[in-house]
């Protein structure tokens, strides 16, 4: 009864409070704008992916046509771009764009998808340096401040809405004098504050989840119901954390001004300072090698490889006897020599890249260890993961592209070494890439720990608030 009574009264208070209505309206606009922004980015990605796919088909069609023309007595368009040469057909001319579809809920969280490439042109020349470079140039301002998407609004701004609605949930009652009359009724401060916060939590979570579901509906993300559930659960838990924190601070029975100061301070520390500190620590403790190092290594290896191609080819054939079918090492073709040099460069780049990857892994491990310090980090991790724009899905894509690049080489390199001539008949057998997306269980498995910790924090803070509010007996 008390719950229903307080909920009804809260509704009336909200309806009568213009300032509160304006705050809610402003946040509603922010949420909708963030969604529109995310949807615009997703559409851009989809167009790019579609263009890459079309490019694949057009390239194959053009090669097929040219090979057929040559077979009928025509001449190649250029002697250096003769598609019959396997290093041309498997090289830049015949390269296949391996694309990553936007995440199932990409419109809600851009994540790092605007920083990381979402397609690679795979050819026999694909090597580690290909994975270190970004194919698309993004708006530098976006890279600096991040995309204004729903995940950003949820993680950074939603706590401010919660605090605006809850920082004085009890102190205001005391300051305006209604607490005495309220607590003279057969209700406890805990019940009243709980009901008031429940109403405000319904508003906030309803707004955040409502706009999210609207976006999911508009982009067809309901096919990934597990991800939708995960998204909504994270938004709810994260909002509850801030409501619980506001309840706990209110239970300390200080003034509204004091509550506001402490809660904004908590927001600053938990949402801004700690995540930044963890990132800075990761960069300082495990600095990534500079990309200049990678480029220098590539150039040095290239120069050296060109000078020692014959020796390198002999060594390559020794290391890869499976590729050596029909090759006479003593009289190698130009393609074979070039491939030997390319492989030597790739090997050197793999060494440099291994250092880079190890440092990056150390950085991630540090961030993962200290993410528990900040609910904002935990929520962001799960939100971008649920949206399919997190690290894990991208790593899966990159790993599949690496495997595909290997498959591509396995297809073309023996022909290069054997100095074979390619015909249109081989085109249907050329490998193609299709990203095998992760299942809901993979995402849920990764989210289990951060969500459990976030839930544990919520329970802990609610328990603290409950104990504190249980001590509130009167209006003093």
């Amino acid at each position: 009864m008390a719950l229903r009574t307080v909920l009804r009264n809260e509704w009336r208070l909200l309806a009568a409070d213009r300032a509160l209505r304006i705050v809610l309206a402003v946040f509603a606009v922010l949420f909708v704008y963030a969604l529109a922004n995310g949807m615009a980015w997703e559409r851009f990605q989809e167009r790019t992916v579609e263009a890459a796919r079309t490019g694949n088909a057009e390239r194959v069609q053009a090669l097929e046509q040219e090979l057929a023309d040559i077979a009928n007595g025509g001449r190649p368009s250029s002697p250096f771009r003769d598609p019959r040469a396997p290093n041309v057909l498997g090289g830049a001319r015949g390269a296949h764009a391996a694309v990553l579809e936007p995440g199932p809920l990409a419109a809600l969280a851009v994540g790092q998808s605007d920083l990381l490439p979402y397609y690679y042109d795979v050819s026999i020349y694909t090597n580690e340096s290909s994975f270190q470079q970004n194919g698309e140039v993004e708006n530098p301002l976006n890279l600096v401040v991040g995309r204004f998407d729903l995940a950003f609004v949820t993680v950074y701004l939603l706590p401010l809405l919660v605090l605006a609605l809850a920082f004085n949930v009890l102190s205001e009652e005391r300051e305006q004098g209604t607490l005495a009359l309220t607590l003279s009724q057969p209700v406890s401060a805990r019940d009243v504050v709980g009901a008031k916060l429940a109403f405000r939590a319904l508003l906030v979570v309803g707004l955040a989840a409502g706009v999210s579901l609207l976006g999911i509906l508009a982009t067809g993300g309901f096919g990934s119901s597990g991800r939708v559930l995960l998204w909504c659960a994270t938004v709810t838990l994260y909002a509850l954390f801030w409501f619980a924190l506001a309840a706990w601070v209110n239970s300390l029975r200080r003034s509204s001004a004091w509550n506001a100061t402490v809660l904004v301070g908590a927001w600053l520390v938990l949402v801004v300072v700690l995540p930044a500190a963890v990132n800075i620590a990761a960069g300082l403790l495990h600095p990534l090698p500079s990309r200049v190092e990678m480029i220098t290594a590539q150039r040095e290896a290239s120069n050296e490889a060109v000078n020692r191609r014959s020796e390198l080819l002999a060594r390559y054939l020794e290391d890869h006897p499976e590729m050596a079918g029909g090759v006479v090492a003593e009289e190698p073709g130009l393609g074979a020599l070039a491939w030997a040099a390319t492989d030597a460069v790739n090997t050197r780049l793999e060494e440099v890249s291994a250092v880079h990857d190890a440092r990056r892994a150390d950085q991630l491990a540090l961030v993962r260890r200290y993410r528990f310090l900040s609910p904002a980090l935990l929520a962001q991790e799960v939100l971008v993961d649920a949206a399919g724009t997190g690290d894990a899905r991208f790593a899966r894509f990159q790993s599949q592209v690496r495997a595909f690049a290997d498959e591509w080489r396995q297809f073309f390199v023996p022909a290069i070494l054997a100095n074979e001539r390619m015909t249109a008949d081989v085109l249907p057998d050329v490998p193609t890439f299709r990203f095998a997306d992760e299942g809901p269980a993979d995402v849920a498995g990764r989210a289990a720990v951060p969500l459990t910790v976030l839930g544990g924090l919520v329970v802990l803070v609610i328990a603290g608030a409950g104990v504190g509010l249980g001590r509130v007996r009167g209006a003093d």
């Binding site: 009864m1 008390a2 009574t5 307080v6 009804r8 009264n9 009336r12 208070l13 009568a16 409070d17 305006q176 004098g177 209604t178 005495a180 009359l181 309220t182 607590l183 003279s184 009724q185 057969p186 209700v187 406890s188 007996r473 009167g474 209006a475 003093d476």
Partner: protein, 258 residues
């Protein structure tokens, strides 16, 4: 002008002490409240029966408000106990409060809501469920609030009008006991008289009233018994039938100068 509001008889018979000759609705037993070295209430024994208006007199800091807050469960006694219709307030705080109504010195309400909405909220919170707006309007009118004011925002009310909403909240609760903390402070004489009449009507319906006040005249006129507190102690108590206005003033001043 004010309509008579229907108020059910309080259930004083629920009190275990009602089995005795003088059942008490409100009772303090050896009640003490200490803040550090300061004893705000000291070994207080007090009983207020049905249809009784007990006025607690005393200077500021005598312990009157503390006593009322102890009955409300706002404070925890250092020693002794308080009982409402026989229920120990410390053991059953919510059930005790269900049987109490309280009007503070300054009735503060939700400023953005109307008097009617405030009454509806506090009546529902007090356990009366959803009451019809017509009934609540009658209650407000019975408490002296003009009918054309019941749907206006409280931010437009005078202190007297807010006080009347407070009275209406207490009436609507149909409690066994009413606790009043300086209820006429700041009210004009007419409003004070109306308030006294209202208390008389509640007394006639069997409600036990404990009122902390500085107003000796009002205490004599309205109360059935008067107790004088000083330094947290109840130094004397008397029936208002036995004394005149001058006697009460003389006794009060004597105790203040001891």
């Amino acid at each position: 002008m004010s309509e008579v509001v229907t108020i059910d008889a309080p259930s004083a018979s629920a009190s275990p002490s009602s089995a005795g000759a003088s059942p008490s609705v409100l009772e303090a037993r050896a009640l003490s409240k200490r803040y550090g070295d300061v004893e705000a209430v000291s070994n207080l024994d007090l009983r207020v029966g049905p249809s009784e208006i007990y006025c607690l007199l005393g200077p500021n800091g005598a312990g009157k408000t503390t006593t009322i807050h102890l009955f409300l469960g706002f404070l925890e006694p250092t020693a002794g106990s308080v009982h409402v219709t026989g229920l120990d307030v410390a053991a059953e705080p919510l059930e005790s409060k269900r049987r109490l109504a309280y009007i503070p010195e300054q009735v503060m309400l939700y400023r953005n809501l109307s008097g009617l909405e405030n009454l509806e909220y506090f009546a529902a919170l007090g356990g009366r469920g959803s009451l019809a707006p017509e009934h609540l309007t009658d209650v407000l009118a019975g408490a002296g609030l003009p009918r054309d004011a019941v749907r206006r925002r409280v931010s437009e009310y005078s202190k007297g009008m807010r006080q009347k909403v407070g009275v209406a909240i207490a009436i609507a609760k149909e409690a066994d006991a009413l606790l009043l903390d300086e209820p006429t402070s700041g009210l004009d004489p007419q409003a004070s008289n109306e308030f006294s009449e209202l208390l008389g009507r509640l007394r006639d319906r069997g409600v036990a009233v404990l009122m902390a006040t500085h107003d000796l005249f009002r205490a004599k006129e309205t109360g059935t018994r008067v107790g004088i507190m000083r330094h947290g102690r109840l130094v004397t108590e008397m029936s208002t039938d036995e004394i005149g206005h001058a006697d009460l003033e003389r006794i009060y001043l004597e105790h203040m100068h001891e």
